[in-house]
């Protein structure tokens, strides 16, 4: 009722509530009240934005019944990428009162010439699951389009619906303009979360939980319906396969992840909501929204990584307010045990993760400019004023904006080569007004809208049936006859034609599991702090499983346990090398970056470093010589000196440039009539990157990619924070051999740490040597 009151008195509101509290309906109360009073309201009244297509469909289903029962004369429809052209046309001619859609479909609607007419009477925009929209490019796109709607309909009111957040004020700032208000409902029933009590040995490292598979199976048997959440698609396939191998009771087990064909996914979702399965193994694909009433238990396999994420997953069970959710955490290695324990503690204290709002990305503005041009001629000053009203773009500089205009106009290069080929042009009579050169361009925009760029994917076909999508990179590494696991089946690779991978069923016992490069989540800062605090609490140890207690006690005897704010550094000789292990608990991205920077630093001081490995908790570097001055190089100077080098050599910026080039519509992922293969897009963007880097290093898209790298890939701010204060808090411990705490990360040493350029040459040289050896001839050069 609080929400109702605030909205009625003209406030923009964000509503925070735990999952299952019925917040979706909260958003609809005011619009429905209005619409009933108005009687036959003509045109679009309320826009409802959902992060997922499936969720949008779900909302429609949930509205149908009460609307019918109450005999409300209110029309509502869904509009997503799956809506037919015919329906979309009809919606444009005769808009429903309530339209349920996604950010991408909204962007498209705004790019039509009659957008203003369509939206001019809009009263409310409701953003569901707004917490998923706060820190990414989709959020940027949405924020720009909300401002556009506000221009069309100045009286528009905004309602946001969010899961519980730590920084509620930030969400409010992001969304609200008019008399901003927050309404918050807290969780009255705490979830019941425990760690799997395993009789088996918890492994030192690894992420597959094979050790506990029988115990997991027993847990599934105990509950009516279980969802097993894992962190990656590869883990999902692996877990599913292992469960089938021991499935003596013939339980109905299914697998669900983002790469599976839509129909397969829908089937699993359907069976889940009807209670026709006993267990589903899933990734984040099942995290959001949808209501599966009968799920009794959640099993989280692997590290929780963050409190919010764990809560979201746990909230999938007993999806209502009065009964507690039940969950079991299965750590896959020893550090994860501590992490799981820490997560449970934080949930008890209701100490949630912060979501860091980020400055908006340039490429999304470029796309928005193109969209604006598609809707008709525009004044750049008006557009700029509108854009900087959006929270992520408050600080967008006019100069950068103008460069983005140029980017859309002709690529924005310093060399004025493309004067005669522009995409948009300035009117001669008014230099501030820009116009699309040709209506045909609108098609190009519409086929490339959106900010989600997947890695190049290929379709997998079993006979004529499509099973889903697989990363092109994975298939390239297969030869005919190799088998792999996908959609829970062992498949044999037969051939690849026209982006289709033909497979057949295989009985092979040896098979690969596709890995997907995306989605490696770093440990949240909040949870990391909690892990450090917990590790230092030695009075808690006795309550842990014996093997964990032993492990920590031995660490205390042989080396040290760092205090909450200390950074332990251990050094020891091993085999012929010298090892340095730094426990930063900074998360994977930041540690990866730091590892590289230190490698450079060590090289400069002539310690002859050979390589490094990083995980969420620590970094290990090994070198030929003893590293003597760790304290003097671990500081901010390290970051400033070697960062550019890092971004360059690891091709991080290059990879992000591809996304930037596509999102800003500089290159197209789809051309009308022709679908480019992923490879082609990747190829041309790499070339563009190389050429630009050489000839025009200040180009706006290079700047944009660099900023993206800093924001997303290397955890720049987090690393900076740590390096600012680390030198005073280092506890250096010289050992004669490896410490118990160092064992997990030492076991991870087998990855290569070469840059792409080096790797290519290495592979060529290595192969050449092998061939020459075989042929028993000498090198010709």
């Amino acid at each position: 009722m609080q929400t109702f009151h605030h909205v009625r008195t003209g406030s923009d509101v964000v509503v925070f509530a735990p999952t299952g509290a019925g917040k979706t309906l909260t958003g609809f109360i005011n619009p429905i009240d209005d619409l009933i009073k108005f009687k036959k309201f003509k045109g679009l009244h309320t826009l409802y934005i959902s992060p997922l297509k499936s969720l949008a469909n779900d909302i429609v289903r949930n509205l149908e019944k009460p609307f019918k029962e109450l005999d409300l004369n209110i029309s509502f429809q869904v509009r997503t990428g799956d809506t037919t052209q015919y329906k979309k046309q009809k919606q444009k001619q005769k808009p429903p009162n309530i339209l349920i859609t996604t950010p991408e479909s909204l962007a498209l609607l705004n790019s039509y010439e009659n957008a203003k007419e369509f939206f001019h009477n809009l009263k409310y925009i409701i953003i569901d699951e707004i917490h998923t929209f706060l820190d990414n490019k989709r959020a940027d796109l949405l924020s720009l389009n909300i401002e556009r709607l506000q221009t069309f309909s100045p009286n528009l009111q905004r309602i946001g619906l969010s899961a519980t957040l730590k920084n509620k004020q930030d969400a409010k700032k992001w969304l609200c303009r008019k008399k901003p208000k927050i309404v918050s409902y807290e969780n009255s029933v705490l979830p019941k979360i425990k760690i799997l009590e395993s009789k088996e040995r918890i492994p030192w490292s690894g992420h597959m939980a094979t050790y506990s598979i029988n115990e997991i199976y027993k847990e599934i048997m105990k509950s009516k319906l279980t969802i097993i959440f894992v962190n990656t698609r590869a883990q999902a396939e692996y877990m599913f396969k292992n469960l089938w191998l021991i499935n003596k009771k013939k339980l109905k087990i299914a697998v669900h992840h983002g790469s599976l064909e839509k129909n397969l996914r829908l089937k699993v979702e359907n069976n889940l909501s009807k209670g026709l399965v006993d267990c589903v193994v899933a990734t984040s694909s099942l995290e959001l929204g949808l209501d599966y009433g009968d799920v009794e238990k959640i099993i989280q396999v692997g590290a929780p990584k963050g409190i919010n994420r764990l809560l979201q997953r746990v909230g999938r069970s007993n999806h209502n307010l009065n009964t507690p959710s039940k969950a079991i955490l299965v750590p896959t290695n020893r550090f994860e045990f501590i992490e799981a324990k820490a997560a449970i503690e934080e949930i008890k204290k209701n100490n949630l993760d912060k979501i860091d709002l980020k400055e908006g990305s340039f490429d999304v503005v470029a796309q928005h400019i193109f969209a604006t041009a598609c809707a008709g001629q525009f004044d750049i000053n008006d557009l700029y004023k509108e854009i900087i009203k959006a929270y992520p773009y408050k600080k967008l500089k006019l100069n950068d904006f103008k460069q983005l205009i140029n980017l859309i106009q002709d690529g924005g290069y310093v060399l004025k080569n493309y004067d005669q080929f522009k995409r948009i042009f300035q009117l001669r009579e008014n230099k501030n007004i820009y116009k699309l050169v040709n209506r045909r361009e609108t098609r190009k925009y519409r086929m490339n809208v959106g900010t989600i760029i997947e890695n190049p994917m290929l379709k997998i076909k079993l006979g004529t049936k499509t099973l889903g999508n697989i990363e092109e990179v994975f298939i390239q590494n297969l030869s005919q006859g190799d088998s792999f696991i996908f959609a829970g089946q062992v498949l044999e690779f037969q051939s690849m034609k026209n982006n289709l991978v033909q497979v057949k069923r295989s009985k092979s016992l040896i098979s690969k599991i596709p890995s997907y490069s995306g989605g490696r989540m770093p440990l949240s800062t909040n949870l990391a702090n909690s892990v450090r605090a917990l590790l230092a609490k030695s009075n808690m140890w006795e309550s842990y499983p014996e093997q964990i207690t032993e492990w920590l006690k031995r660490q205390k005897n042989i080396s040290k346990i760092p205090k909450k704010d200390e950074y332990l550094v251990e050094q020891f000789p091993r085999k012929k090398n010298f090892y340095t292990v730094i426990y930063t608990f900074a998360g994977w991205h930041a540690n990866q970056t730091l590892g590289f920077l230190l490698l450079r630093g060590f090289k400069e001081l002539n310690y002859k470093p050979l390589g490094f490995v990083a995980n969420d908790y620590a970094i290990v570097l090994w070198s030929l010589k003893e590293v003597k001055e760790i304290k003097t190089i671990l500081n901010l100077g390290l970051l400033d000196k070697h960062l550019d080098n890092y971004l360059e050599e690891t091709s991080i910026v290059k990879r992000l440039f591809r996304d930037n080039a596509i999102i800003s519509c500089l290159i197209e992922r789809r051309l009308p009539g022709i679908e480019k293969t992923g490879k082609q897009v990747l190829f041309s963007s790499d070339l563009i990157y190389t050429v630009l880097k050489k000839n025009e290093p200040d180009h706006i898209l290079l700047k944009s990619s660099y900023e993206d790298a800093k924001k997303n890939m290397i955890d720049y701010d987090r690393l900076r924070e740590i390096l600012k204060k680390i030198d005073k808090k280092i506890i250096l411990n010289k050992l004669t051999c490896i410490s118990p705490l160092a064992v997990p990360i030492i076991l991870e040493i087998n990855r290569e740490n070469l840059s792409k350029k080096e790797t290519d040459e290495y592979i060529l040289e290595d192969l050449e040597n092998e061939i020459l050896k075989e042929a028993n001839v000498l090198s010709i050069n």
Binding site: G412, L687, V691, N695, L764, N781
Partner: protein, 220 residues
Amino acid sequence: MYYQLINFGNEEFHAYPNKSLYWKRLNTLIVSDLHIGKSISYARNKQFLPPYDTKEILNKIFVSLDKIKPSNLIIVGDLLHDVFSALSIKDQDYKNLSQYTKNTNFIWIKGNHDKNIQIEGFKNFTNYKIGKFLFTHMPIKTSLFQICGHYHPKVKIVHRGKTIFKTSFVHNEKIFILPSFGILTGGLDVYSKQISDVLGKNNLSIYPVGQDKVYKFKLK
């Protein structure tokens, strides 16, 4: 510059990492598929590739000519990407080019992309014969040894769990295909249907181009 020695048709050729081929005995440099002005052609379609390709390709050629000072430069087709690409060649570049033509005999063989284009002062041919060698853009029916371009060959290498693609020189007993000398040009797998139709799949000699070295693999 390091080169890889290639024996083809009982003659010795040097393959350079900059994707040119040198016939030392006749002091002749061979390049293919420069596709000058590709960026302009894309810009017409509102795909704005960086406009530096023309300058870079010409510089690459000039560097080679300065170093090797060949008597002949044979371009086996697709010097230009299309009719509009000549627009991207600046007057100064033309002047430079004509300087080089004083000492080097330019032999421009027409490809499918530039068959209808003329540049003042440039001789052009559909193919060019030297002894038992025929230089042509696409291979034709002949008993001669052929040196051509057109296909932009690259090779897929799977080794120790990694897959890489590398631009390559490739030949069988009778036909030699050069990689593209251009900047914004893609490639075609040497085992693709198009190339297999010309070279077959057996007994190919493949020379992947590395950073500053050309490698040599004979694959069956």
